[in-house]
Amino acid sequence: MAVGEVMRMEIPSGGDMSVTSPELHVLAVDDSIVDRKVIERLLRISACKVTTVESGARALQYLGLDGDKGASGLKDLKVNLIVTDYSMPGLTGYDLLKKIKESSVFREIPVVIMSSENILPRIEQCLREGAEDFLLKPVKLADVKRIKELIMRNEAEDCKTLSHSNKRKLAEYIDDAPSPSPSPSSSTHDDSSAKDFPSSKQMKSADEKFSSLL
């Protein structure tokens, strides 16, 4: 930049400088190419970023959970939601769910299971393992809209909880510390605090979860 040159900012033509909520990035897992195409479109039309993979193994690879030290740089897009088919060859949707919930890094990511079969014990098993919701195929636009609202509501709650937690911890720190208190390092407060709070999702009654299926 030459001396005296003014740096110009790109202002959107609408003139609206407000920050819009970031898009959800969804990882969709399904072995059926037809279903992948449909779920991708359903999610895109609902203003989500979508990555589709054809198997549980590929999903783990994408997340960097497959134990392969060479984790792909493609996952620089944070995943906000995982939607997976239940019946897949190799790793089933249930296996994938378990692996994600066992991971300290990824267990907070909501997982939604899809299945063409309305088998109650299967649904219960998935919800017990921590699935956010269960969608009966064929998936419709209304289903995706509902899931998206649910996830965004949970994320908003988590943010509120997080900021309350930060204020409380800061107050405690100030009370405990001898004068003069140095400013606390903010790095430790970010992700770790979220894990201290029980996920409100798990506490929903079974009735609430099943009502949509009836």
């Binding site: 059926s32 190419i33 037809v34 449909v38 039309i45 063409s116 195929k137 419709k140």
Partner: protein, 156 residues
């Protein structure tokens, strides 16, 4: 021009309604149409194209599995039927899906003749749907070429 467009639109409406009435399509097909817009004007055709490719592949698998002289692995046949049932359900291919339900029962019962019959029927059925949809897409093209818009068809 307008008279032609109107006539084509009416033809299109009647044809589409008949596909639903004759059970070729169900409301999942209507759901797919909701996902088509100016940004994705060929979405339905693209999905159906993938579906028909899937049909060829899966029916091939079923035929091969049933062709084993000696012991037929019915679970292998059933696995392909399950997949076809899934994708036909996802696109609203009602008759194909219905056949898959019956087919699956024959697989579970290890009923060879039943399976062979279903295989033949499902092959005929997906091809029939393919032809019907081709005619429907052609009508859409004609409407657009005549300067009109493809009408939203209300099934109910």
């Amino acid at each position: 021009m307008d008279a032609l467009v109107a006539q084509l639109q009416m033809q299109y409406r009647n044809y589409t309604v008949s596909l639903y009435q004759q059970g070729f399509l169900d409301d999942q097909f209507t759901e797919l149409k909701k996902l088509q817009d100016d940004a994705s004007p060929d979405f339905v055709a693209e999905v159906l194209s993938l579906f028909f490719e899937d049909c060829v592949k899966l029916i091939g698998n079923m035929a091969r599995a049933l062709d084993q002289t000696g012991t037929v692995d019915f679970s292998q046949v059933g696995a392909s039927v399950h997949q076809l049932k899934g994708s036909s359900s996802s696109v609203g291919a009602k008759r194909v899906k219905g056949l898959c339900v019956t087919f699956k029962e024959y697989c579970e019962a290890n009923n060879y003749e039943g399976c062979v019959r279903c295989l033949q029927q499902v092959d005929i059925e997906y091809k029939a749907l393919q032809t019907k949809l081709q005619d429907m897409f052609n009508l859409e093209k004609q409407i657009i070429q005549a300067g009109g818009k493809v009408p939203q068809v209300d099934i109910n």
